[in-house]
Amino acid sequence: MRVVSVHADRIDAAAVVRFKEDMRNAIQGASGRVILDLSAVAFIDSSGLGAIVASMKRMPEGQRLDLAGLTPIVEKVFRLTRMDTVFRLFPSTDAALRTQAA
């Protein structure tokens, strides 16, 4: 299990190349579950959403990526695109940690 925190207020088209690279490094070697703490992210666009999906797809079989601390606009983008049915969303990293990785 590993918690990865995003230290950026936007995951947008201008940030996406760097974000994917940082995610690759942050996730590398993790086993089991990765919790992505998005509580510092005030805004995401569809390229940022795509980058999170890409990061999840790159994880080995048996690993999962859970998302925590989504701020209102970020949560709206996940819900509108129905990506909330692909990822498990938690109100905070603590809430995610309290829930078993099922």
Binding site: D12, D45, S46, S47, K57, P72, I73, L80, T81
Partner: protein, 155 residues
């Protein structure tokens, strides 16, 4: 001193009254700066933060489309974004002189199909769906080599 408080103007703080204009080069970094200035302008106008967030999502997707598809090269041209606020409606006109839309018409913007194995999940193609979901009216025209996307948002 008169005792009367000024009536709050929903467009207060917008340059040129109720209009806000931003012209920027079609590159991701410049687009981000322009979208930040729009976000601040919406806040100054006193627009409900939830609706302002929805406007921000739709405009970002529209601007991304111009940057990536209409231009999409290092010699990117300019994008003009005009916002007009009147009677509880925000009208946005986004113009560029890049390539025409494929088929010269707006994409339908269907929701992405997520009923696929994990390795096949879509990493894009959400933009037009978000724009069409969040804006109340979406129109596109191409005239004399200029693409204009007009979006309306009820506030």
């Amino acid at each position: 001193m008169t005792g009367a408080l000024p009536v709050p103007d929903p467009a207060a703080g917008w340059p040129h009254g109720r209009r806000f204009t931003s012209v920027f080069r079609a590159r991701a970094g410049d687009a981000r700066d322009a979208l930040r200035s729009v976000k601040q302008a919406l806040r100054r106008a006193g627009i409900d933060p939830v609706r302002a967030g929805e406007v921000e999502i739709a405009l970002t997707e529209a601007v991304n489309n111009v940057v990536e598809h209409a231009y999409g090269d290092p010699d990117a041209g300019f994008v003009r974004m005009n916002l007009t606020l009147r009677g509880g409606v925000l009208k946005v006109r986004l113009s560029d002189t890049g390539r025409p839309m494929p088929g010269e018409c707006l994409p339908a913007g269907h929701p992405a199909n997520l009923a696929v194995p994990r390795g096949m999940l879509p990493e894009g193609g959400f933009g037009w769906f978000l724009i069409r979901t969040l804006a109340d009216d979406v129109r596109h025209e191409r005239h004399n080599g200029t693409n204009t996307l007009s979006l309306q948002f009820r506030l």
